[in-house]
Amino acid sequence: MARGSNPFSASTSSGTKSKPKSTAKAKRRLDPSNAYTYLPSLPKHHRTSTAQLSLSKDERELAGPSRRRGDDSDDEDEDMQARIKKVAMMIADDNPQAVESDESDIDSDEAFGSDGSDEERWGDVFRQLDKGKGKKGKSKAQEVVRKPAKPLTVNLDESEDEKVSESKAKGKKAAKAPSPISEEEGDDMEEISGEDEDLDVDSEEDISLNGEEDQDADEDEDNSDEEEEDEDEDEDGDLDFLSDLSDDEEDPEDLDGLDAFVDSLAATDKKRKAGEEKVTGEAAKKRRVLPVISGPGLKENGDLALKNNQKLDLSSLISSHPSLSGASALLPSKSDKKTSTSILKQGLVSAPLPTVAQDRLDREAAYEKTREEGQKWAGVMKRVKEAEHLSFPLQGDRRGGVKSGNEVLAGFKPENKLESAVTALLNKANLTEDNLTKREDLALEAQEMSLEEIKERRDALRYQRELMFRAESKAKRVAKIKSKTFRKLARKRAAKENPGLDLEQLEKLDPEAAAEEREKLEFLRARERATLRHGAKSGRWARDTGGDGAEIEDRRRAKEEMLNMKEKLQRKILGQADGSDSESDSDEEEGDDETAIKTRAFDQLASLDAQNAANEELNGKAGKGLMQMAFMKKAQDREMKKVAQEESDLRKEIEMFGDERESDVDIDSDEEDRPSMMRVGGNEGRMVFSGPEPSSSTPQDDDISEPTRISRPSALSKPREATPPSDEPFADHNPWLTNTTSAGPSRKRNTLVGSVNAKAEEKVTRAMKKAVKGKEAELDDEKVEITIEGKPSATKLNNGNDKNEEDSDSENEELMPIAGKGVKAFKQRDLVAEAFAGDNVVEEFTREKERQVEMDAPKVEDTSLPGWGAWGGKGSRKNKRVNPKFLVKTAGIEPTQRKDFSRSNVIITEKKDKKASAFLLQDLPYPYTSKEQYEKSFATPVGSEWNSRSGFQKGTVPRVVKKPGAIIEPIRRMF
């Protein structure tokens, strides 16, 4: 709070009060200027020893919360007692208020006992407390709570300062009378109150009162602070209080031995109560006693007088008389008192500062203001400084430039005849701007629509638009399905028109086409090979299976089986994959079948229907009043009908497409009639007509069980794919019987499986071939090792069969001439060697490099002459160490440090290029912070040879561009 530290506070006492606690006591006694010190003339011995004792203790205890907490161990028993007492009081009258009042009594009693000076000390103490702990005086709420207690005070002969505390002090005095312990107890209570904020409210009131006396000038300022802080701390305080209470409740149980105290306390409490109600008897007696105890009444009066100078007000007068006690409640409370005191204080205006100091303060404030203004420019200045290009004028004209249309219109005045004529006409027709706006306003008014209504209507419109959009999107989807289906069907049809002949037949008819076809098949096979990594034909296992004839047969079968299995699995995988994305557009391989295409189309349509139905349902529910409106419904129905019509047309068309087909797919067309009839039913119909299919193909049964609608098409389409092969190709076509020719399927669906089979078969044969060939190749190699002449016949045979093998072989031959070619290769090699005989380029290069490295390396030359600087003769030892001054060192570059150290094929010279060094910089130029940065600035050339026209122009724009001959204005404030 630093109450005493304000140099402008007028009270003289404040200075002494703010002094450190330790010296405060002594000073107070000695310093005559201190209003609260005892006058030296007054006898000190009037003070009772107990009072002094208690005071000192108080001081010690209240010096600071931290210290007190530190001393807890010392005061532990006292603490205990205090708590016990408190509990006892609570027991006596289970009213926390009473407890508080008790404490306050105790406080005031101490103050009472120790005279005015004690109070002052209390003030000091609490001030220090406040400073130290940050727990400052009362919160407003607390004050409010406290106020009612004040009227109870009856201080006829005491200082009005003490009135509050004093009123409670009666009880305390009563407590004091019965036992000397109560004094201690009081101290203890003080401790507690110091710790618990709520509990020490009363004492804090004391503080505040003292504070008012002492530092009224500051009080007003401090109040706000205090209150703030109090608000912060109130919670803590309350919590502490509660916890303390709980503690207190537990304590008595543990300490049964202190019943005596409790009893006595209960007694005192009663007394206190009595004292509160009737304020005369005992208290008066005690007051009479007091001067004797604590000092002469004169002194007290003097004290009071001093205080009254500052603090006397109506409330104190009223409260001083018991009959008026009730009236004091009506008086303005403490805060008002403060203002009144501050008004009093206003009489003591601090002397104005010397002009020099005042001017200085003013200047500083003014400068701060200017600096702030300057700071506002910071952003602008930063931009100006960092700008890459400044083009003046920097700021455009605010009003200049192009005017807006409204501005032009507003300032329009007819100037010539024509214009005035036109204006006149417009005026006649009431088409001027003003008239138009007026009319618009009128129209709006006429509609008499509230804001809600307009909003509602807008919502309705929006909804309708959305519905339209729905219909539109559905139509689009239908169109898409239609186009796709038809395209696919047409393709199929076209394929059927000129049915896929067998390759053999085709060869006869049209060899070129056949070749094409074969190529296509080859391509497909190649692709398959590329995608199937674990093909049985290329694996190690397949290669190894080159054994005896009997074994080969077995393994062949095994392979066959494996391939079969793989094929099957693959088909399954593909089927599932197909099922998972029914809407995928690029499923041409699966959708080969016409029926499949059709069914998919139908399914898609059905799903669309279902979706729509769901939407409609939703609309029906959500559309509340709006969707039930006739026009909305109508519009929707109309749209939907249109789409439905389209849809049905499409169905029919698709069916028609199917009707022209051959007999074997008639069943399908029959089936497809059903959905067209059961269109309303949608999905259910689809379920029915696809019923019989799965029975024909058992392996796909599990697929049907999939519940999702999307998977249904796959379930339908797959059997169709799968069944036909079961009729024909499995029956009459045994892939293993035909060797090389691929099965030329008459129909596409046959080719699907047939080709797969053919592929599998081919794989096997090729694997076998390769195995055989591998063996032969080995043999061949062996042969080469042995007999140089002649080519192995096996390779020859193979060459005719397999092109690839030949290629690889030929490559091998090129790579290692020894392998297959024999003498020729050797000859070639010899020839080359002969031609470049004695041409040891590499060696020479390495030698050259070594020489270079050696030359560049740092050298140490020993220039010492033998015999010089050494002892000679018999018995002389030769000094191995050479005097370093005879060692001439030549700087160079270490071989390991060379740039070409790790590059064996190049020599990079490490010599300094004098000419180039002329262009090198010693220091980094100013704006750059690193070498790299600087070099980067040269990365892009400036000239037009290396830049586009615009690049060149952009790259050469100067930093400052200004209009020739135009005045450049200083920058203008735009904020």
């Binding site: 420019w377 200045m381 003046f392 100013y926 050469t956 100067p958 200004k962 920058i971």
Partner: protein, 512 residues
Amino acid sequence: MISRSLDDHLPSSSTAPHPLQRNLAPHLHPFQKPREYTRAMTAVKIDRMFAKPFVDALGGHQDGVYCLGKDPRRVAVVAGGGGDGEVIVHSLALRRPLLKIPNAHKGMVGGICWTSEAKDGKRGMITAGKLDGTIKIWRSKLFAPGLKDDESFIGNEFASGNRLESMDNLDNAGAIGENGFDLNENEDDGDEEVGGGLTMDFKKRDRLGENLEPTMTYTSKNGFNGIDHHRQDNIFSTASNTVQIWDENRSNPLSTLQFGNSLETVTKVKFNQSETSVLASVGNDRTMCLYDIRTGKAERRIVMQFLSNDLSWCPTLPTTMLLASEDHNLYTFDIRNLNSPSQIYKGHVGGVMGCDWSPTGEEFVSGSYDRTIRLWNRESGKSRDVYHTKRMQRVFDVTYTPTADFVLSASDDGNVRIWKSNASKKLGPVSTKERQSIEHRQKLIERYSAEKGVRSVKERRHVPQSIHNATKLKREMIESRKVKEDRRRDHSRKGRDKPKAERKKTVIVEQK
């Protein structure tokens, strides 16, 4: 037969770029760096070859010219104040005086500034006498020939919308002499004529000048050393032993600003052009003081090692202020942080008498007692260029023209000299192609300016022997001083006197 389409070789329209007949493949243009370096070298040499900064000297003063007052609203009008109290308004475009006022003041002219408005076709000029302690406002059509039809603009035309018309008129007024009105038509008007006839002969003009009476005269006990006008309002400030703020329409100062009770001579005062209520002054007590007319207070003052002769506010960086110091240096200060300069500019070998920012805020010019003018970049502590002529004596004031193209200097020899702000810049129209090649050359120079060869050509300046010697001497002195200081430091207790940064030495104290 060879047939060529013109479309391949001619631009499609008059404004379109010429079709490119070049292969841009990089491998066809090798040795990029060496070639560019050579070009940069050539460019910098060309630049130096064409560096002819001196344009003209405007004579007519009977005594030395000690102050200049440029009209900030017009391209080419400047007034020079002589040592004998004569004020001559020069037209830079015509390179001849528009009006001579022989006895504007008794004794030296302290300062000249222009009002922020023109009324009835008249332009107002305010002059302050250094010795006679008077301020005079002169209004005449002769100041603004070409300002037609009695057009007027008001002071805050920048802020108001009517700037376009009036500003254009003012820009041109006095710039193009041929636009001037014929005097003979209005001869019966009296001494002054509408539009300030430029066609009239010298004698008549001189007579008009002699007879011209100030429209307003303010008197004071103290002489005025400087004067400056508010950017928009009808307010001007003067520097005597205090700083005073005057209203054009009142005979007494609006306010008197002084720091504390200081009554030392204030030599110059300048309004900030952007933060318009802020002004600063320099005084003979080596101080620079900051004022604000809103608070009506002297706000802060710094005391420097040497006194400052002139100051100028940066037009694009409103918090930046330039001080021309007697210690041969210039200093920029940021008013937000006055305890040290933000940059020190060294180069002159005599006290710097005047300085002025370029309207672009990127450069400034300074004139010195060493008979040279130097041009500086804001960011660099070394001067970009130095101008001098044999006949130019001590330079007392310099100023940039409002277009930033020219620099004017007022010197002891009684001439106002016009210099190009860019020595090698071509005057007159420049074709696009030429401009591009100039820009290209500038870019190359800029890019390679760190390289030794380019730099040596670029930075080499011939200066008069005296300056050269003085520079050498100064360098030696500084060097020896430094050596001495080092030695002293070496032989004193460690850490006793630490070397102090140059910037920290400048300001002795910042007074609050």
